[in-house]
């Protein structure tokens, strides 16, 4: 503890990010290919859930359609590779960011006009719209089979599972840092003020709808980036990416970690990726498990599993009111 105290507080974040980065970069040296794949998946979900949590955890808006932006990112990359023949990941990535930005701005504009149940159902409806679109425009999207996606190239290097892992890791660290900056900025505090009380926020002069819109777009772009990485990881895009059970997965990831904690979605994503690979090996009824977990969390653990455990431990062992003998 003494060494920790001698480090100035403002270095905590860079140091922990640096350590995280070192761990992530050295991970492939010790891990099998499958573990690398799983961790890539976990980090992609972490990016997605971090973005989702801007909206859910920090702004207090519950969306049931965030698979749409993941899907938009994935389909942008997948279709540009497979149908247009663009192989350079830099361009593909930029394209995914732009399309997810545009589409989340458009849909977000309609959705943030409404709150609570209306908002939730509108996001759900628009999400399903993309799902149907992926089926109906079969000559472009390949219908229910989807399209298989060849490896793209990053600065001329073939982006196989390993290089993709590094790209995911680097992007994850950058986006994690950016998310931390955002939630602690005046902008992030504004979002939290809106979450706590939209009416009061409006009274102190915050343009609530506009900030909710910004938050929607931000989470849409994070989802789009996650999608851009998802397509090459699975080398395949398919309509189920847009389905509402996929939206449920990001919800599950965020909830299991705890949407009131900054790192909750990241923890949730790691748990999710490993849990899912384990559960799907034993049962095909994954949606059942997913739905049951969401229902149980909603009923019993309103702060998420990790979040509830964290606050329990904090209250039990680190509470300042406990007087030591």
């Amino acid at each position: 503890m003494h060494i920790l105290r001698s480090i100035p507080k403002e270095y905590y974040i860079p140091i922990s990010l640096g350590l995280l980065f070192l761990f992530l970069i050295s991970f492939p040296l010790i891990a099998s290919r499958y573990l690398i794949f799983l961790l890539s998946l976990a980090l992609i979900y972490a990016i997605w859930a971090l973005g989702y949590n801007f909206l859910f955890g920090y702004t207090g808006l519950l969306s049931f359609g965030h698979a749409a932006y993941l899907g938009v990112g994935a389909y942008t990359v997948g279709l540009l590779i497979a149908r247009v023949g663009i192989k350079s990941f830099e361009i593909l990535f930029l394209a995914a960011v732009l399309t997810s930005l545009g589409i989340s701005a458009l849909i977000g504009y309609l959705c943030v006009k409404y709150t609570e149940v209306y908002f939730a159902l509108l996001t759900l409806a628009f999400g399903e719209f993309f799902y149907a679109l992926a089926f109906k425009l079969y000559d472009i999207t390949g219908g229910s089979d989807g399209v298989s996606v060849p490896y793209p190239y990053l600065f001329g290097y073939l982006m196989d599972t390993k290089l993709l892992y590094y790209v995911v890791a680097v992007l994850f660290v950058i986006l994690l840092y950016f998310a931390w900056k955002v939630v602690n900025s005046p902008f992030g505090k504004t979002l939290q003020a809106i979450r706590e009380d939209p009416v009061k926020a409006e009274f102190v002069g915050i343009h609530v709808k506009r900030y909710q819109w910004y938050s929607f777009i931000l989470s849409g772009v994070y989802s789009g980036i996650a999608g851009a990485l998802y397509a090459p990881l699975f080398a395949h895009i398919y309509p189920d990416l847009f389905h509402w059970t996929t939206s449920g997965e990001v919800l599950f990831v965020t909830l299991i970690g705890g949407h009131r904690m900054f790192l909750g979605p990241v923890l949730g994503a790691i748990i999710y990726a490993f849990l899912r690979s384990y559960i799907t090996a034993y049962t095909i009824y994954w949606p059942f498990v997913l739905g049951l977990s969401v229902a149980v969390i909603a009923l019993i653990f309103p702060n998420g599993i990790i979040g509830s455990a964290y606050s329990f431990i904090k209250e039990r062992y680190f509470s300042k009111t406990v007087v030591s003998k």
Binding site: E116, A125, K136, G248, Y285, P287, G291, A295, A298, P302
Partner: protein, 292 residues
Amino acid sequence: MLSTLPLFILNGLFYAATLFLIASGLTIIFSVAGILNLAHGAIFMLGAYLATLTMLTGDIRLIIITFIIVPFIIGLIGLGIERGLIKWVYDRESEYQLLLTYGLSLVLADLVRMMFGPQPISASFLLRESGVIDILGVTYPVYNLIVIVVALFVGLLLWLFLDRTRLGWIVRACSFDREMSSALGVNVGLIYAFTFFLGSALGGLAGALIVPSTVAMLGMDVNALIESFIVIVIGGLGSIRGAFIGSIIVGLVRSFGIYFFPRYELAFIYIIMAVVLLIRPRGLFGREYRRV
């Protein structure tokens, strides 16, 4: 074109009939209990699958009874869900209510998959047996006409119930002001439970009615939920009249869309929804939404 016009209209009304039943169940539960039941689509699907059990036997008396038994069973399931789970979240933030019903929806849908398997089940016995009829210059299945009439009849009963009976008044009173109703001696919890029974039964009836002319398949739950939601958005959340008009609009647009622009049929419905939302945010017949 002109000669097939009645066909489109009839098809549209047929869609509208089932949509109206599903949407009115959803809207009654929402307006009284304040819960937007995302599991309502799964309830509808469960009704359809349960109905296939008797429809496949081909016993006409059994099939007729199905239309009473299935809504009753589904209503009881809705009642059980309300008493067992939803009861506990009335006072919580709406996010948790939505999360709970969303979770339930996935669980119910997967239970259906466990019990009935992933293959669509076709049980068109009733459609075949009832034959076709020449109406307005087109040949049309009698069964689909019966469904339209049944939906109209149920809508009429629903209106009579809510508008002319004492229990209906109490239900509406609860939807307007929960605390005041409670202060006047209404057992609000019982009314909520009854509402879930009624709403789910309507969903179950829609499921049973749709089976003979289409199929029971996985995924019909989400479609039904989204379409009935669009109906409600157009008509206004919490309004039976809105659900009626909204389902006719959506049904007709869908039926014409499928014929003329099969690939963009869905887009039309969404465009109508977006336009209604932009011009009349509370829907055509919606009243100001407030937490009761």
